[in-house]
Symmetry: C2
Subunit: 233 residues, 2 copies
């Protein structure tokens, strides 16, 4: 995409409330436009471009600051310690009460979405989100890329399914450096699980727990739930 | 097992409320005892055995009549038509409200529990039953036998899991002639689904619906729910 196309897309996403994606597009687009400004011989055009570059960079900065604030600050609402081998910690039991009709956008940062069981955990999370948040419009996932083709196919299937079933947009961003795990809800809640979405032990093929994860034994982890009023969109 | 052992077991099951199993043990045991009576040369002993045979057969008959009454009569409480390709018909959505703390015993008659997806449907049913019926003690399944070893392994895993997790006893009876599908709850409700437990279409590997069956498309079928007050144990 050209700088102009990137910036058009950035404005479009910004207006639609897809702030994280808009931020990255503003940055990329402003970078391209800065190069154009540098090579521009007409002084008036050069000044015009430079002004626009500043404007877009400022907007990207605001969105970035908001995002950093969203993910770092906030009042602690709950702390849960999941004991090794304990049960009763499905996503519904653990944080289902924070998923409600006010939520329009969810950001999931989860580095490990490579293996089948990790990808199906994300699907299970989406099932809960779709069921609990009747006004949900966007799910944004940031994860580490992997060589396997299954990951790409899995995201495509899930994206199609979310769109078809409830008109929800799934966007996936790959980042080699992402590490922290958190789920950011647009109603102001942030859910941080030490092990991310993947804290369940494997169930036998025909045991209780193949569908209802309250019957799954868990791996030890800590859960912190924050509330950031300034984070509400 | 000898006739005496069968009859001892029958009395034990009868007292524990496992009536269906007791009925069959009474019949088998009485059959064995009748042969013993026939071959007995001592007249007093012969009369004693014959009296006992009559008593056990009478008890089996009472239990059988009760069972036939349970599965055939009753006031219709609900009729639901599931339209081909419609969604929102998980077991929870369809009949979850009839599974409550009054239920101590559930009988599932489902001829087709052979393939993986059929066996996991039974596991899903058990997950719901265990979650909804806090006083559940027995789950009795009647199904057609199959050549595959998977069926036996599946029932063993499920039996162990139910026992370990909640102390619930699963008993499975194989019958080559079973055909009708029904779920009999000891609170008086009977759920009859035309296609039995297996009315869900396959989901894609990473689509909504792999865990929450309200997102699964269904095959067309009719559901009748009866209430039989005389059926309450």
């Amino acid at each position: 995409m050209s700088a102009v196309e990137l910036l058009k897309k950035a404005v479009e996403f910004d207006e639609a409330g897809r702030h994280m994606e808009a931020m990255k597009l503003y940055e990329e687009g402003a970078e391209g436009l800065a190069t154009i400004a540098k090579n521009e011989s007409n002084a008036a055009a050069k000044t015009h471009y430079e002004t626009k570059v500043r404007e877009y960079r400022d907007r990207a900065k605001i969105l970035k600051e908001k995002y950093v604030r969203m993910s770092s600050k906030g009042e602690i609402k709950d702390k849960i310690h999941i004991v090794e081998d304990s049960m009763g910690h499905s996503y519904q039991s653990l944080f289902g009460k924070y998923l409600n009709d006010v939520v329009e956008e969810i950001t999931v940062e989860e580095p490990y979405l490579r293996e089948h069981f990790q990808l199906t955990n994300l699907v299970m999370f989406c099932e809960l989100a779709v069921t609990s948040c009747r006004n949900l419009k966007f799910i944004n996932v940031t994860t580490c890329p992997t060589e396997g083709v299954d990951q790409i196919d899995a995201f495509k299937q899930l994206k199609d399914s979310l769109k078809r079933t409830r008109g929800i947009n799934l966007s996936v961003e790959f980042s080699k450096t992402t590490h922290d795990r958190q789920i950011i809800l647009s109603n102001g809640y942030i859910i941080k699980i030490g092990r991310g979405l993947n804290y369940f032990k494997r169930a036998e093929k025909y045991s209780l727990g193949i569908y209802n994860f309250d019957f799954r034994e868990c791996r030890e982890t800590n859960v912190d739930i924050f509330f950031c009023p300034e984070n509400i969109k």
